[in-house]
């Protein structure tokens, strides 16, 4: 896993199509109480769930942040008629503590079609909500690299 996404050089292609999402802690807490952890196994990979785990169980705020980050990352792809491919947008915690996005399968294909090489996200949470904002890194085209 790379240490961090690399920003494009100054004067080159910049950031575009921001994605943002907000997740209610109460809503996720209800889902956890009603269905248990297995519910979130459809949305998060085992590694992501491990990142959200503490000695006393799943940390709901971390769970909310991870879900918000996936949704925010998905929004940067700007695709219609597709569901969020939950297991294919993976948000892991780096050694530095910041979230890193990995795209797999259909998510990677959708990003490639949009010229997106990577997505960077930021997560924040307080008592009742977690929010995440995501920005795509656009691959430079031959014409843009010559300009």
């Amino acid at each position: 896993m790379p240490a961090r996404p690399a920003a494009p050089p100054a004067g080159g292609l910049g950031w575009a199509n921001l994605g943002m999402d907000i997740v209610s802690v109460n809503r996720v807490r209800r889902l956890l109480a009603q269905y248990g952890e297995r519910f979130f196994e459809r949305m998060l990979t085992p590694g992501e769930l491990a990142d959200c785990r503490t000695s006393s169980g799943l940390d709901v705020l971390s769970l909310c942040g991870r879900i918000a980050a996936k949704e925010a990352a998905f929004k940067t792809l700007r695709v219609r008629g597709r569901f969020l491919p939950w297991p294919d947008i993976v948000v892991r915690r780096s050694e530095g503590g910041w979230p890193l996005v990995e795209l797999h399968g259909p998510a990677a294909e959708m990003a490639a079609e949009s010229g997106i090489t990577e997505i960077t996200v930021s997560i924040s949470h307080d008592v009742d909500y977690a929010v995440a904002v995501a920005a795509p890194i656009i691959a430079p085209t031959p014409s843009s690299s010559n300009s």
Partner: protein, 84 residues
């Protein structure tokens, strides 16, 4: 309306008390009656009511876009088999 479909409709209405009813052709996605988080729970409910395992990865948006589509894809076939 099949009991399962009615349960699905009631499940959506419970989460959107501002609505009295949901027309069979109302777009559930465009009208934000199902969002990404509730979609996962919605799939759980559909599996339970239709008795069919659903692969989220291959599920087509159009198959759950309206109550009419849900009935066609998840409940009509089951009724036809029962009547045969």
């Amino acid at each position: 309306m099949a009991d399962g479909l009615q349960t699905v409709k009631n499940w959506i209405l419970e989460r959107h008390p501002e609505r009295d009813d949901i027309a069979a052709d109302l777009d559930l996605i465009e009208n934000r009656l199902i969002d990404s988080l509730s979609f996962v729970e919605f799939v759980f409910l559909l599996e339970q009511e239709s008795g069919t395992a659903i692969q989220m990865e291959t599920l087509e948006v159009d198959s759950i876009r309206t109550l009419g589509a849900i009935e066609q894809h998840f409940f009509t076939a089951k009724v036809e088999v029962g009547q045969a």
